[in-house]
Amino acid sequence: MPPTNAEFAYVRDLVKNAVAIALGPEREYLMEARLAPIAEQEGFTCVTELVRSLTGKTSTDLHWKVIEAMTTNETSFFRDIKPFEALRNKVLPQLIQNREKERQVSVWCGACSTGQEPYSLSIMLREHFPVLQNWKIKILATDISNDVLRKAQSGRYTQLEVNRGLPAQLLIKHFRKEGTEWQISDAIRNMVEFRRVNLIGTWPPMPNVDIVLLRNVLIYFPVETKTQILRNMRRILRPDSYLFMGTAETTVNLQVQYDPESYQTVTYYRPSPN
C-alpha cells in the first residue's frame, strides 16, 4: 500500500522538528523509494506500516533511520547559496590576504556526498579568484559511502542534477554533454581529491586545513559524537581558519572551543584562541 498524504505529513513534521529541514511537497514521491528498504529490513510489510509504528512514540533509532533516509544525499550545486556568498565575499578574500606568503589554501568538504559541494567550490575559485591560479589549492572531499564517492569522482550528472542550483552560464562553461548526462571538465575535477573518511571514531592522518565545510552532518549525531567530531576538527584547523556547518547546526551547548562569526545571515565558526 503506498503511503498516504497524512503519512507524508507525519514524516515531514518529524524531519522538521528533529533536524529543521523542510521537505517540500515534491518529496512525497520519494518517500516510498526512500523508506521501503527500511520497512523491509525492520520486518514491516510496507512503508505505511513502518510510519504507523512510529506515531505516538518518542524518538527511537527507527525514527532516526527514517529521518536520515528522507534527508541524506540531498545535495545540489551551490546548495543554500548563502554560505558560498560568505566564502566569496568575506572568507576567501581575508584568507588570501593571510596566505599571501605561503600561497596555499587547503579546504575539506567533510560529507561531500555526490560531489556537488566540492565542485561548486572549485568552480567558484576558478570564476572569482584568478589570483589563485598560481597557488597550491587542495580541496579534499570525503564521505563515508563508497557509492557516493564513486559517483562524485566520475563528475557525471543527470539533467535534473545540473538543473539544481547551477547557473546556466557555469553549466556551459564547465561541463560538456555526453549522451543524456553532463560531464564536469577535467580542470574542475582535478582540483578535488576524494577519499573515504568515517567521521566517527579515529580519523586517518589529515592535513591541516583553512576551511572546512561540514554542512548538515552533525544533526544526525548525539551530543557526545558531535563534540568528539568538533574536537578532532579543532586539531586540524589552522588558527585563523573557518568552519561552516548547516543552518540548523550550532556549537551552542557543546563543550568545544569555537567562536561564531557571521556574514549577513550566515554564521560560521573559527577556532577560539588557546
Binding site: 511537497p25 515534491e26 545540489s76 547559496i81 535534473l160 546556466a168 553549466l171 556551459i172
Partner: protein, 122 residues
C-alpha cells in the same frame, strides 16, 4: 513585482503562474512570443519573464531577441523554461540574452533555486 509567463501549454502556464504568485508576483500570461510582446505594450515592463522555446507564431528565442532589442527591456530578468536540453541550444539562448535556463522536466525546488539565482544576479 510583475512576471510574464509565456508558454503555449496552458497547463505549464498554470504551474508557473501559481508558483510565481506564491513568490508574490502579479502574473500575466501569453501563449506565444508575439502575444507576449503585445502584453508588454499593454502592461509595460515586467521584472521577470519565463519563456518557453518552442511555440507557434513567434518562438521563445525570437521573443528574447525582439525584447532585448528594446532599450527599456535591457535589464528585465529573462529565464528560458524549455524541453530543449542540448549544449548549443543553451549557448544560443544565453547568447541571445536569456539570463537563466531551466530544462524541463523540473521540480518546483529547481524552479525556486533558479529564480533565486536569477534575482541574485545584479
Amino acid at each position: 513585482m510583475r512576471a510574464l509567463v509565456i508558454d503555449d501549454s496552458s497547463s505549464m502556464r498554470s504551474i508557473l503562474r501559481s508558483y510565481m504568485r506564491e513568490l508574490g508576483y502579479e502574473v500575466y500570461e501569453a501563449a506565444d512570443g508575439r502575444e507576449a510582446l503585445k502584453r508588454y505594450d499593454e502592461v509595460g515592463n515586467f521584472d521577470v519573464v519565463l519563456v518557453d522555446w518552442n511555440m507557434p507564431v513567434m518562438n521563445g528565442l525570437e521573443f528574447i531577441q525582439a525584447l532585448r532589442a528594446r532599450v527599456e527591456c535591457a535589464k528585465v530578468k529573462l529565464m528560458m523554461v524549455t524541453t530543449e536540453n542540448d549544449f548549443p541550444r543553451i549557448q544560443e539562448a544565453l547568447g541571445a540574452g536569456a539570463d537563466e535556463f531551466v530544462m524541463k522536466p523540473f521540480t518546483l525546488e529547481v524552479l525556486e533555486q533558479k529564480i533565486a539565482l536569477l534575482l541574485s544576479q545584479g
